[in-house]
Symmetry: C2
Subunit: 222 residues, 2 copies
DNA sequence: GTATTTCTTTGCGTATGCATTAAATAATCA
DNA sequence: TGATTATTTAATGCATACGCAAAGAAATAC
């Protein structure tokens, strides 16, 4: 009922994003504007607008006469992204701790942690990844800095496509949830220093694992 | 000679940015696409593309049928931006220290610091601001994370317009350059921990001064 | 056989026009 | 009079058209 028809440019953004994440538009591939327009059954205009937006979000690149290139991610890129996430999320954790949220306001965090436990128990990696996303998104939201929220969302997006690949290459992230609990408790206790530090370590650890994994499998691009 | 004619969209981006920074397009003001198109003597198409780009950079906002709104910055916005800058720049400082640059590679930092000294000596605030920009830009570049570079650039842009106002409201930033020297020395000495900490304090201090200033002058929007 | 020039193709940047739809205004009714 | 609905207005979203410039193909010269 509240369904606005949704503009073509918006649809183009959504659908292109989806196709990039699903791999239908593979990393490194080039596509002409007219090709994408045909694909989405619309004219070049809204496609161009969508492409411009997605370019500013780092998902693709416009190269005149070469086509729109879906940006591949090198291990170095992953490192960069994880470093940004580390800094901004741990800042958010610190801030969240300072706010002094009551238990109720932190229930989404608890829920996400519980869901991760459950997912790990039944070895459902997709469910785990989804809950993990939720935890990090909520953490950043609790931090209360809207710019941090949107930057982190952008960076997470970039990593998302790669995770589809890497998620199944590594053992169950059983240890990871202890980190999440630590962060949660520090926030609940209002211990900003600890929240910051815990989350920082958590992200640095995750980065190390990932970089290691990419090296081991000799993955140069995702 | 290497002057490519520069596309209209690119020109639109540059000129709109310039007009926003100069105040010709004032914060909080609304402008129709067609109005901007007339202003720049081009059609709506490239203007729309430019506006889309600038929107993604947080300088303005498209509100269908209300016009393009140049985003004003509240003190809370400034706080958010400074926090992001604090985190990412101090990360860059840490990384720069870890790289182990030789004195030659750090000469731009030294130059910027010297220029700030000179500017302060002759009370040239514009020159000081320009050199300060240079210092921070170079610092972040030395950090070696391209994403940090572009995010910091975006955030600095948002602050730039406000600085035109605030710069002249406060006393000469004589103390600030000692901070810069501390950061520089830590990087030169390869002391990552110190570099990070120094720069963090520097930015937090700057934020405090600014927020204070805005409160004192009861500036709700810039 | 290679290098250089000319020709052809084609993708993009921009302008333009039209349909849509949100806002503003007028009109109608309780 | 105040509220509600119809009407008008006009800015946007999108499609389309066109010219330019770049990449590639063909042709010519060497």
């Amino acid at each position: 009922m509240t369904d606005r028809p949704l503009s073509s440019s918006q649809r183009a953004i959504n659908e292109l994003r989806a196709k990039i994440f699903s791999g239908e538009l593979a990393a490194g591939s080039d596509h002409l504007e007219s090709e994408l327009a045909d694909l989405l059954a619309m004219s070049r205009t809204p496609v161009r607008e969508a492409v411009l937006t997605l370019e500013s979000q780092g998902l693709l690149e416009m190269r005149p006469r070469k086509g729109v290139r879906i940006l591949p991610l090198s291990p170095e890129d992953m490192g960069e992204i994880y470093d940004v996430l580390t800094e901004l999320e741990s800042h958010a954790a610190e801030r969240a701790a300072l706010v002094g949220y009551d238990a109720g306001s932190l229930s989404m965090l608890v829920k996400a942690i519980d869901d991760m436990d459950t997912a790990i128990a039944v070895s459902d990696l997709d469910a785990w990844a989804e809950a993990d996303d939720r935890f990090h998104t909520e953490l950043v939201r609790l931090g209360g800095n809207s710019r941090v929220v949107s930057i982190v969302n952008m960076m997470s997006d970039q990593v998302r496509r790669a995770r589809t690949t890497t998620l199944f290459m590594r053992p169950l992230p059983t240890k990871s949830n202890q980190d999440h609990r630590d962060v949660y408790q520090a926030i609940r206790d209002g211990d900003a220093k600890a929240a910051r530090k815990s989350h920082r370590l958590h992200r640095q650890h995750a980065k190390a694992i990932l970089v290691d994994l990419l090296a081991k499998h000799r993955l140069r691009f995702l």
